[in-house]
């Protein structure tokens, strides 16, 4: 039965020792440890939240980046297309103007040639007339060497002159 009887002296020492240790631990150890653990927990919590937010932000940024890249791609295609059409247009225009110019030059050349031809023809005509007159005068002189002919001519001329006066 000795084992089952509590002893007062032991209880006394146990109360003092446990009380002192409990007091010291409750005052100096547990608040420090629990406080530190809780602080760290909170810190980790906020850090996790921040990381999650950053992740979301990175995802949105990535999306944005992809959108920007897609836009740029589209823009590139558009620009290339525009460039191709404007190139074609420029080439076409150039061809057209070249043709026009060529046509104009040809026309001018033709006109000039015509003019020159006309001038040549005109001058040739004058020469021919001069030659004809010269030949005619030669013929006339030969024919007018006799007086009869001279008189006849005088008459004609006089008629003509009078006729002109009337």
């Amino acid at each position: 039965m000795g084992l089952l009887t509590p002893s007062g002296g032991l209880l006394f020492w146990m109360t003092i020792a446990f009380g002192v240790v409990f007091f010291i631990l409750a005052k100096f150890a547990f608040p420090v440890i629990l406080g530190s653990v809780e602080k760290r927990e909170k810190y980790i919590g906020t850090q996790l939240d921040a990381a999650r937010a950053a992740e979301v932000r990175i995802a949105s940024l990535e999306e944005e980046g992809e959108k920007i890249i897609a836009d740029a791609e589209r823009e590139k295609v558009n620009i290339l297309k525009d460039a191709a059409t404007s190139r074609d247009k420029i080439v076409g225009d150039a061809r057209e103007t070249a043709q026009e110019e060529a046509a104009r030059i040809i026309a001018e050349a033709k006109k000039q040639a015509q003019e020159e031809k006309d001038a040549i023809l005109a001058s040739a005509r004058g020469e021919v007339a001069k030659i004809a007159i010269a030949m005619a005068s030669k013929v006339l002189r030969d024919q007018l060497s006799d007086s009869q002919a001279q008189e006849a001519l005088q008459e004609i001329l006089g008629d003509e002159a009078s006729g002109e006066k009337v």
Partner: protein, 349 residues
């Protein structure tokens, strides 16, 4: 492994043929009493017996503090702890009601003086409380030294933090409820005191090895602490449940239910006290009894003694492993039940 099997075989042979073995053994020499040896360890004593070498006891004397009819007496236990010693009218009774306690004779009648000696169990308890205190203060100082918000402790502080956190998160917070902060210091101190004391109790070398948590006074103290924590901080709801529970009026008027509830106030800590006490006491007794097998069989011849030593050793190793588990389990169970009782008394806060 082969060696191990051979030992087991030898042990088995020794077990089936005890009569042959005892016949070959020759009794004699001083008798060894296992009961005395086990009881001596389990019971409290005024001095701390470490070992006996060739009839010479090696003992750590402890202070005896006694207030007898002639006033206070403070002296070392070695003055009183040998056969027939009487010091200042005080001696240790060897039989009767006060067996193994310091008594004095007043008018021929044995009387027990007021005795607050620092006995073996008291020293064991103080020692483990000091160990607990050092563990926590060292751990706490690690945090104070590195006052950083993201400081994660290593080593002892890390171990302590892990233990504290696991007990807090798995026992105290869920069982006590929202008010856990108020009771955490007591519950943690109780857990670590019981755990460390149980572990120290398994180490057979001074200053560990005393049977502290297997002493009824210690478990009584712990149970009373829990009872105080439950009842001093009980909510209105808790007391209403005791004195005026929601049962038919005739049950309260007699008053049957309040009586049962009031008995319940005491049975809960009583269960706490007995559970811890009995578990640790049983563990110590079994290990010691196994140890005694070696010495009981010493006169039965070398074969029996050798094989029984092997068997006893195997069982002792097994029991010690089991006791390691029990050491944690009992501390855990005590803390959990205390938390549950406190939590029940906090309902409706």
């Amino acid at each position: 492994m082969k060696l191990f099997l051979r030992y087991v075989l030898v042990a088995a042979i020794a077990l089936v043929a005890p009569s042959v073995a005892s016949a070959s053994g020759h009794g004699g020499g001083e008798s060894f009493s296992p009961k005395e040896m086990v009881m001596e360890h389990l019971a409290d004593s005024y001095d701390w017996h470490i070992i006996t070498i060739k009839d010479k006891d090696i003992v750590v004397p402890l202070p005896v503090i006694v207030r007898s009819s002639t006033g206070w007496h403070i002296f070392s236990s070695d003055k009183i702890c040998h056969e027939g010693a009487v010091y200042e009218g005080l001696y240790i009774a060897h039989e009767g009601k006060y067996k193994d306690k310091i008594v004095e004779d007043i008018d021929g009648v044995q009387k027990r003086p007021l005795d607050i000696s620092l006995t073996k169990t008291a020293c064991g308890a103080v020692f483990s409380l000091i160990v607990v205190m050092i563990l926590f203060l060292v751990a706490a100082s690690a945090y104070k030294k590195r006052d950083e918000i993201d400081y994660c402790p290593k080593g002892l502080a890390g171990l302590m933090e892990w233990l504290i956190s696991s007990i807090l998160d798995s026992v105290i917070k869920p069982c006590v409820g929202s008010n856990w902060r108020k009771f955490a210091p007591y519950l943690l101190t109780a857990f670590f005191f019981i755990f460390v004391t149980n572990l120290l109790g398994l180490i057979p070398i001074f200053p560990a090895g005393a049977n502290v948590t297997g002493n009824i006074t210690i478990t009584l103290f712990m149970a009373v602490m829990t009872m105080l924590a439950v009842n001093l901080f009980g909510s209105k709801h808790y007391y209403k449940e005791i004195f005026w529970p929601d049962v038919p009026v005739f049950l309260k008027a007699i008053p049957l239910m309040p009586l049962i509830e009031i008995i319940g106030i005491f049975t809960k800590p009583f269960a706490l006290m007995m559970r811890l006490f009995a578990n640790i006491l049983a563990g110590h007794s079994i290990i010691l009894s196994l140890c005694c097998i070696i010495f009981v069989t010493v006169h039965m011849g070398a074969a029996v003694n050798g094989s029984m030593t092997a068997v006893a050793l195997l069982f002792m190793i097994f029991m010690n492993c089991l006791e390691l588990l029990v050491a944690f389990l009992q501390a855990y169970v005590f803390t959990m039940l205390s938390s549950v009782f406190i939590g029940l008394a906090q309902e409706g806060h």
